[in-house]
Amino acid sequence: MRNSVECAWLALLAALAMSSAALAQNARPAQSAPATKAAPAPARDLNGVWAAPGPDSRLNPMPPMTPWGKQQAALYKNDFAYSVAASNDPLKTCDPQGFPRNILNEIRGIEFEQTPTKMLELLQYQRTWREIWTDGRKAPANVGAPGGPDPRWYGFSVGKWDGDHAFVVDTIGTDPMPWLDRNGDPRSSDLKVEERYTRTDHDTLEMAVTIDDPKAYSMPFEVTKVIYKWNPGQVLDEQLCVPSIMMNYLSTIANTADPAASGDGK
């Protein structure tokens, strides 16, 4: 069985399609207490591969949504409340998670690598990447405006160090189409995201994510705080959602199980 289809939000399909290696990795007790005290965190250095505690971030309670936010949320049918056939989660067809869902859902493993002008963040799930400019440039202020760049699935990100151990990333210009998270919480093109990565010791990286989207939520809020651990093997696996396999699963199993919800099963 190939190590390729990893749309783990569909638990059944994931269990069927994941390789034994991937399953073993998912079973890893990432949050277990270290046997010995970790070395101090190096200064201004996040480089390396980090393991997530699980496939999803635990989300904090959210503030009230605006009327627009409620309207959007009502359109999104997640796979907690609906059958797979009835859900309209974009991930059901392997659509891109976009940002910030890719740091809230299917977080798995991440890798940071600093280059002279930017920090690269590499994500195990979908084997994708984003870039965070660290050379002092500003993110474009005119995204989506006439003459400006189009919104991006992964937005435009700039980062800077706050002291020696906290790296702060600000992102704007994201495509509003992807869901904010697996729950189907809304987000708009006005979304601003702050990520704060704090390396508390050599083996520990804390990620706190703050959402500021006045069109969708009544106030800014910290959506999650996740503790990543240093991955001793320093290797990212390959976890790809394969659309043709997902479509086959939907047509032969999910839609068959709930034909009314799926339309006609096609």
């Binding site: 084997r127 050379d135 992964y154």
Partner: protein, 300 residues
Amino acid sequence: MRNRMSSAVVSLIGVLVFSLPAAAQLYFPGGKSEEQQKAAAESKAKLKYDAHDLSGIWRAGRPAVPVPKDPRSGDGAQSWLMGAAPPPPLTPWGQKMFDTYKPSEINSWQSRRVVPAKGNDPLGNCDPLGYPRNLGEPVGAGGGTFELVQLPNKMFQIFDGGRRIREVWTDGRKLPDDLEPRWYGYAVGHWEGDNMIVDSQGYDDRSWLDGNGWPHSEDMKLREVFHHPDVMTMEITMTLDDPTAYTKPWVGNKQSFQLQLPKGLTVMYEYICVPSEEQAFNNGVRNPAGGDLEHSRPLK
């Protein structure tokens, strides 16, 4: 209009849905604005040549090599990845796969090309391109754009097509013997003089070599030679050894890539094939156009 490529199978569609960002402060591969040309000239003046420095964004554009005539069909059977070197004869298994694959990319081998509704290019569903195909896609955008990031123990090729990553270990480790096939395989590299030699294997055989539908098996081994002859140029020469699919190794010609300037400031495009959009387009346009009414549904 979104800045993405929703379909690489039909390049024309890709061109239509892809809008060129016009923000002056952003520099993109191949950008021709006056401001970018000025910044590129300033950047170029500061570059110092180092044969072992492969870092930067590299772009081939397509076609970058002359298209030879195929003796069997009279049109282009070349694989862009192989620098137009002719393919060796296929094995019976390779021929079977070759006959099974039905290409539909707009600039694929004309005599093999079918309408997308009747094709089976994995890209038609936005399935992963895998490697080496990812090196040459997306076709409609000029193809072959990637950034190479060199680290002490490995180098990354990060592609605009699909926004995927390939890693090449350069820390002396060997390729493991027992490999679970992966879309992007396993790769190790080392320097021999001024050539970075990259050996890779362990590839998932569901990917095609290219849009022409040249096959490969899980036994495929690639040797790529990365050579950086001058400050603006990188060449990749690929040799493919797959005794399950080909009767002898396929020895490619060099393929050239140009450094994108200003170095360090150029931003790659975001070319992401979106499966739901692709399916809507298949159901609403390609399938009815190809006479497949069973799988046709109007676009919403």
